[in-house]
Assembly symmetry: D5
Homo-oligomer: 160 residues x 10
C-alpha cells in the first residue's frame, strides 16, 4: 500500500458520505485544519491520538491508521499547474526578493522557518468581494556563525 | 538601459550612503514597504508621485524616474535557490493541496488573487526565539460560469 | 477513483454511443460548451444541477456525480505537444510582450483575469478557407497599491 | 548589433520622449498595433514602408531600419513569469483540451493557424470593473491526408 | 480505454500474425504509409473508410474502430532518446537557423506548414551504402499583416 | 573572439551592404547554400578555399578566416521558439515513431545519418499557395552486431 | 505486451534460476555480451537466430521471441542517477570538449559513430586495485560537403 | 557592482598575491573557514568586524566592504557539474531516503537545520589513501502541530 | 517483480508488525544502519548473509532474497521535494563552492569518494534543542595525471 | 579574470599562430594530450611545471599561469548539442544498463572511477573508412560496507 492509495481511499469515503472538510476536521480536531487536511492528502503525519480518531471516522484498518502516523515523503509537482495554488507560487516569485530584503534588515541573516510555523486563514467579508485573510507566524532562524574552533559560536544573535 | 541596470545603480547608491530599506521606505512612503522595495528591485512599478520622490532621493535622471513608473517584466528564477525565499516556496509546495481544499470549500471554485492582495509582516517577540508574523488578504475571485448564450453568467456567486 | 478514471469512463461512453460534444452540451446546457467539455475532461467543475444532468445522461453513479461537482486539480502538461494546442501557446509566446505593453498602457498595471473570463468561438466562413473566430472578455484586475498603513489603498484605480 | 540591442535603443528613445505606444502606432500605422509593437519589441518584422516610417520617427540609422525589416528569431522564455502574460498561458493550459475537442468536432482534424491570424483587443466598460475584450480569427488548416501515390490528397476537406 | 492501450493491442496482433507494416499499409491503403502507421501508433486519425478497413484487418470492436477515427492528443517525449529519431532532431537543431534564413529570403516571412505537408521516403541504392531518400513538400504560410482596421490585410503576399 | 561575435560581424556587414544570402552563396559557391549559410551563422565549418572566398567577400582578417575554417560547437537551444523552426521540430515529434517503424522495416536496425546527408529545398509553385519542396538523402548506417570475439562482425548487413 | 514487461519477465527468470549474465551470454553467444545483455534489457534487438536461442533458454513464447527481434525504442532517462552509469556521463561532460578538439584535428570534421562501433571491457589486475579496461572502436563519419548542384560532393575526405 | 564582480576581484587578488585560503582564513579568523571562504565566494555574509578585516587584507573600498556584510542571494546552479561537488549531491540523492527514515525515527517529524548547523572537515591519514573527515551538527527542528485555536501548539516535542 | 514492489512489500510488513528501523537493523546487523535501511528502500544491495537474515525476518521468498542481493538502479528524483532531504541538498548547493576550495587546497585536485565512504549520525543533546550529529569519512581520490605514454602516471600524489 | 576569458585568449593565440593541438601538446608534454587540451579549454588543471611551459609557449602573464594551475569548476552544458560529443552521450544512454550489469557481475557493487582513469585514442586505418580507437582504464571502486560499529568494514572486497 502506498500513501497515494490511502489518500484515494479517504477521498472516496469522503465523497461517498458527502462529508465536508469542516466536518472531518471537527471530528478529528486537536490541531489546525490545514494540518489535518494535509495529513489526509498525504503531506503531513497525524500524531497517534488523531490518527486513531481519523481511523475510527473513516473505518480504516489498523495498518492504515499507522500509515497516517508515518511521516510521508512530502512535496508536490512544481510549478503548480492549478490556478489556486499557482497564485501563491506567483506571490513568492514576484515578491520574494522584497521579502528577503525586508526580513533580513529586520532580523539579520537567516530564514523564517517552514517547519515551525502556524498558518490560519479565514473569510473576510468585503463589499467589493470577500477576501481570504491569511495569518502565519514562523520562527526566525538566524544563520549561525560558528567559530574557527568548531562548535563555538563566535557571535551572538543578529550580528551585523 | 535595462531595468536590471537601474536596480544595480539604486543598490550601489543605497550601499554607498549606508541607507536602510526602512529609511528609504520612510522617505518615499505612501504605499507598503513591500511594494516600494519590490519596485526598487525591479518587480513593481511606482506610481508617478512616488517615482518622483524616489528619483529625488536617489538623484535619478528624469528617464530613470520614468522607468520606475513603468510596469516591469515581473518574476524571478524558480525554484528559488536562496534559503529564505525557498522556505516560502516549500510552504506552497507542501501545503498547497490543503489550502486548495479548504479555500474551495469555504469560498467555492476560484482563487485568492495575487494581484489584489496586501501583505504585511512584523516582528513578533517570542521567548523561544522571535517570529516573523505575516498577514495578507487577497480578494477571492470566483470562477465564472458563463451561460451558453455568451457573456451571460448563468449562476451567481458560490454556486455549488 | 481518480478524476482521470472518470474522464476515461465518460469518453468510453461517448464513443460507444457515438455522441458528439454538441449533443452532450445541448443535453446538459446552462453554461458555455467550453465549460461543460472542460468539466467532462477533468479541468472544470460542474455546478450541482448540471452535474445531475450529466450523471443522468451518462448513467453515472451518485459518487461520480459528486466528483463532477468537485473542483479538480487543474492544468495539463506543458509545453503542449499537440499541434492544435501548441498554436495557442505559440501565440502567447510570440505576442505576449506586445499584449502586455498595449494592455498596460490602456488599463494601467494589472492583468486580464483567467478566472473571470468568458470564451466563445464560432466558425467564420471565408473564401480562402474558413476561420476560427474567438471572442473572449476577461475582467481587468489592477494591481492594488496598498498604503503604508496596511489595508489602506493609497491610490485609486489606474494610478500612474 | 543584435535585435535585442535595437529594442533597448527604441525603448530608451520612447522613454526619453515620453511617448505612448498609441502615439507610436498612430505615427507608423498601416497594420495592427499588436504587430507594430511586436516588431519594435523584436518579435515581428516591419514591412519596408513601415520600417521606413519607424526609422524616421525614432531617428534610426539605415542599417537599423533594415534590421526592423528582417524576420527576427521569434519567441520568449517559457513559462512566462510575468503575471499578465502567465494568465494567457494558464488559459491555454487549462482550456486547451476543451478547445481541441470542440474545434476538431466543428472543423475536422487540423489546427487554427498562429501565422495567419488577426488579433484585436479593446476596452469594454463594465460596472463591476472594465473588461479586456479580445477578438481573433485564425485560418483553420486541415491536416491533409495525402495518398499512397505521393502528393495526391486522397480525401477532401473535413473528411471523417 | 486509452489510445495507448489500443496501440499496444494493435502491435500485439501485428506481432502475433507476423505482419509487416508494408502488408498492413497495403491492406488499408488510400493514404500514405506514414499516415497509416502514424495512426496505428496513436499519432494520427484514420478517416472513416480506412478506420473500417483497419478494424476488419485487426478484428477490432466497433468502439475501437471509432477511436481510430478520433484525433489523438499528438506528440511524443522530447528530446527523443532513440538514435534513429534523434538524428532528425539533430538536423533541425543544427540546420534550423540556415533553413530559416534561406526559406524566409525565398518566401518572405512565414513558415512551412507541418499540417499541410506530404512526406515520402524511398530506398536509394548507393555503392558506398544505400541511402534513405526523403521528399516532402509543405505549404508555405505567410505571416499576415492585418491592418489597423481589424481584419483588413494591409499588404498582400510576400510584402517586404 | 568567439564564433558568435564573428557571426554578428558577418550579419552586420550583410545588412550594411544590403546583400542577400543568394548573392553571398553565389560568390562563395562550391557547396550547397545550406552549408554556406550554416557556416556563416556558426553551425558549420567552411573548407579552406571557401573560407578564403568568404574572407575576401566580407573583408575579414586572416584570423577570422581561420575561425570560419574551424569546426564550431554545433547546436542551438531546444525546443525552438521560432515558429518556422518549430514546425520541423513538430514533424519529428509527431511523425518520428512512424518514420522509425517504416525505415527499420525497409533497412533493418540502424539510423539515417545526420552527418552524411545532403539537403536541398526549392520553391514549388502551387495554385493554392506555393509550397516548400525539400529533398534530402542520408546514408543508412546499420547497427553493427559485433561478435563475441571483439571486432568481428558476426552478421552481415540487414540481419534479421 | 510492452518491451518493459518482457524485460521484467526475463529478469524474473534469471533471478529464479540464479543465472549469471556470463552464463546467459555463453548460451546465446554469437555477438558481444554488451549486445546480448542490452537486448535482454530492452535496448537492442537480437537477430533471429539469437532471439530463437534466447527464447529456448528462457522458455519464451513465439510472440515474445519476435519482440526480442524488434528494434526497441532506445534510450534511458538522463542524467543517469545511478553512480556507475553517471561516471561515464561525467567523463563525457568533462572531457567532451577535449575529445572533440583532438578527434577533429586528427580526422577532420565529423563524428565517431555510436551505431557502427564495438565495445569490449575486461578486468585488468592492478596492485593498487583492479581496473576496468575498456576498448572501443567507432567508424569515423566525416561531415559531407555536398556541392551547389545537389548530391555532388564538392570535396573529398578530410577537407580542410 | 554585483556580488559576482566582487568575487572575481577577490579571486584576482588572491591569485596575484599567491595566497592560500588557509592564509586568508588565518588573517580574517573568528568564524569557521567554510564561512569565510563561502562569504568571499559570494554565498555568505561576513559580520562587520570580519568584513573590515577582509577589506584591509584585500584592500577593498568601503563600499565593497559593506557588500561583504550584505546577505547575498544564495545558491548555485544544480545539478552540480563539478565532480567534487557532485559527489556530495549523489550522497544526498542515494542516501536521502535512508537518512530520512532514521532521523525521523530518532527525532520525530522534522528536519535537521541547514541554517543552524556547523561544519568541519579535516584530513584523516589512512594507509590506503587519506580520507576527508567531515563532522557537522545541525539543530533538529520538529514540525510543530499547532492547535485548532491558532498559535496554540497542541502537542509537545516528539509527538507520536 | 520490480525493486519498488519489493520495497512496498517490506514497508507493508514493517507497518503491520509495528517494527522500528532500529529493531530491524538490530536483527540484520553486520553493517551500518544507513546501509541496511538503504537496501530495504531499494538504494543499496545487501551482501548474501545479510540478505538471508532479512529474508528470514520478513518472510521473503528465495527470489526476493536474491533481489535484495542485487545492485539496484540507484538514485531518486531531484531536486528533493521532501523538506528533510532538501536541507541536505541546500547545504551542498550553498556550501559546495567553499568545500571545493578548501578540500582542493588541502588534498590537491580530486574528489571525496561517494562510494568508499562511511556515514554515521547520532543524537546530540543540547539545551537549546537537540542536534543531529553527522560524521562521515570518504576516501580522497586524486585526479590522476597520466603521461603522454599512456598509462604512465607522470606525477605522484598531490602534484601542484 | 575568469577561466573562460583565459580559454578565449589561448584559443585566439592558437588561431593567430596557426598552431595545431598536436604541436601544443608536444611543446608542453609530460601528460596525456587529453589532459593538456582539457586544461587549456578550462576543464583540467595543469601541474606547475606544465603550467610554466604553457605560459612560456603562449606568452601568458604570471597570474594567468597560476590560473592554469588552479582546479577549475568542471563540467559543460548537458545534453550536449554538438553531434561529436552527443554520440558519446548516446553510447552511455543506450548502453549504460548493459555496462552496469556486466561490470557489477564481474567486479561486484561499485563504480569505474571517472577520476582515476586514463584515456587514449588513436586512428585505426580501415578499408571501409578509418576508425577512432579508444582505450581507457579506470580504477574499480567497490562500495564499502562499513560495519555497525562505525568505520569498521564488515566485509572484504567483492562481497556477495
Amino acid at each position: 500500500m502506498t500513501r497515494a492509495q490511502l489518500t484515494e481511499k479517504i477521498l472516496d469515503i469522503k465523497r461517498e458520505r458527502n462529508w465536508t472538510w469542516k466536518y472531518i476536521c471537527g471530528e478529528i480536531g486537536g490541531v489546525s485544519d490545514t494540518l489535518i487536511v494535509g495529513a489526509l492528502l498525504g503531506q503531513m503525519k497525524l500524531v497517534k491520538p488523531l490518527a486513531a480518531k481519523a481511523a475510527t471516522l473513516f473505518g480504516l484498518t489498523e495498518v492504515e491508521e499507522r500509515m497516517l502516523n508515518e511521516v510521508p515523503y512530502r512535496g508536490t509537482a512544481m510549478p503548480p499547474t492549478d490556478p489556486l495554488i499557482y497564485r501563491f507560487y506567483e506571490m513568492v516569485m514576484v515578491n520574494g526578493p522584497a521579502w528577503k530584503a525586508l526580513i533580513e534588515e529586520e532580523f539579520g541573516d537567516g530564514i523564517m522557518s517552514a517547519i515551525d510555523f502556524d498558518f490560519h486563514f479565514e473569510r473576510m467579508a468585503h463589499e467589493k468581494g470577500d477576501r481570504v485573510k491569511i495569518e502565519m507566524t514562523g520562527k526566525f532562524l538566524p544563520y549561525k556563525y560558528y567559530g574557527a574552533e568548531q562548535g563555538i559560536p563566535a557571535y551572538g544573535f543578529k550580528e551585523e
